[in-house]
Symmetry: C2
Amino acid sequence: MERVLAVDLGGTKTATARVDAAGRVEDKIREAACPSLAETCERIAARASAAAAIGVIVPGIYAPATGMAWAPNLWGWNEVPLKRELESRLKVPVWIDSDRSGYVLGEQWLGVARGCRDVVFLAIGTGIGAGVLTGGRLVRGARGIAGAVGWMALAHEFKEEYRRLGCWEAEAAGPALERGARVEDALEFTARGVANLVSVFDPEMVVLGGGVMRGHPEWCGEVRRRAARWAQPVSFPRVRFETTALGEDAGLLGAARLALLGAGLAKDNEGIYVG
Amino acid sequence: MERVLAVDLGGTKTATARVDAAGRVEDKIREAACPSLAETCERIAARASAAAAIGVIVPGIYAPATGMAWAPNLWGWNEVPLKRELESRLKVPVWIDSDRSGYVLGEQWLGVARGCRDVVFLAIGTGIGAGVLTGGRLVRGARGIAGAVGWMALAHEFKEEYRRLGCWEAEAAGPALERGARVEDALEFTARGVANLVSVFDPEMVVLGGGVMRGHPEWCGEVRRRAARWAQPVSFPRVRFETTALGEDAGLLGAARLALLGAGLAKDNEGIYVG
């Protein structure tokens, strides 16, 4: 069975592995992130031998129309030509997307959302973002910025800190909790954000992931309970809520799935399309 | 050039017309809505002669998976088997979707969003809803309820009236304004809702339509100005804001486009897919 090279370029750690169409993972390496674009691409190319395709996810924005990536934790404030730099070093096709897209693809393939075509993966960690499959397709937006839900406006009063982080992220992401935000307040913001994602997307499932949610799986039920009164009332009761089953591997497996689907190597696409 | 029959089943008025692939409209009839499902289907069938396909939009929810429609203003609180009832009377294919989907398809075809593949059409009238194209595809959700954005939670405090209408709709739709809601408050809610749609979808364009917005095109700039401070700041400045160019015909033209695309009769699909 052919293998792809999966690469999860996290903000602080990089994970790479070979993955086959059955989801078998080999040679997984987790190491400190490399701050240089050129060196990152060299590392990937050095591990690409015998891979039929490469899937890469980035912690930020990837614009399919231009092949440019924006990941301030890795490469500073400017966009970088990630696709061009990778393709110049590789002989096989490369598929790139955001980490949010990777999470939802991974969870749909091998996690709690298996068989679903309408899924919201909500990642709450240092930041807040969502990867979305609707009708089996990734929601990317015109410039790859879709799913930036940490910017969701969920309160009437505008606070200065929203300007830098967005309302939801300022009130309920990891740093807010570390600074002493009351958990109850954070959960109430998260419940409203989740309710809005249900009213907008009418998904089969909401998957809660990211470092904060992985550390508190018991919050899943509480978020659901609080979201119920805000969301569209026909859709909401039919939405399943789950905590991520893949943990920190969701992105790596999603990068693999991206490459497998993109290169036509998936055993069964299950109605999921990434092209 | 082949023609389709377009049907816009509004809550109070029904519009029908023959439309060809160039968007030419003939025999447009606007008449009082018919409350009986059987009679509605008879009327449509009686006008379907020489049409190559039928496109129908409904004021509520349409679930493609089951062919059931829910439109309380027309057929009461229960779902009705609209697709089955139509198909039993028709010899040509029928395509059905929600009014929200119709509006965005119409505006993308012949209105202000021509050539765009990522568009949010926000309808503010008696209710609030959104039709969304993302990557050229309609966002329908698992049960056809996607775009129910009138339920968006945009404030911290829950009011009893939100239970029946949703927060955004209770604060900023037509009935709220008629009851004397301050326009400034309504615009601020609408700005937050629009900001959220931008952060979620990263669209090329937001089109403001529906009875309230058509009556107040000058609010478009004000909504944009107020939304700017809440939305994802890389995406937002690149989003074009427009008021609907098609007015009350957006739905009728969208129903035609739905049938033309569905039946493969469109001259150019412009990267838009409804299947």
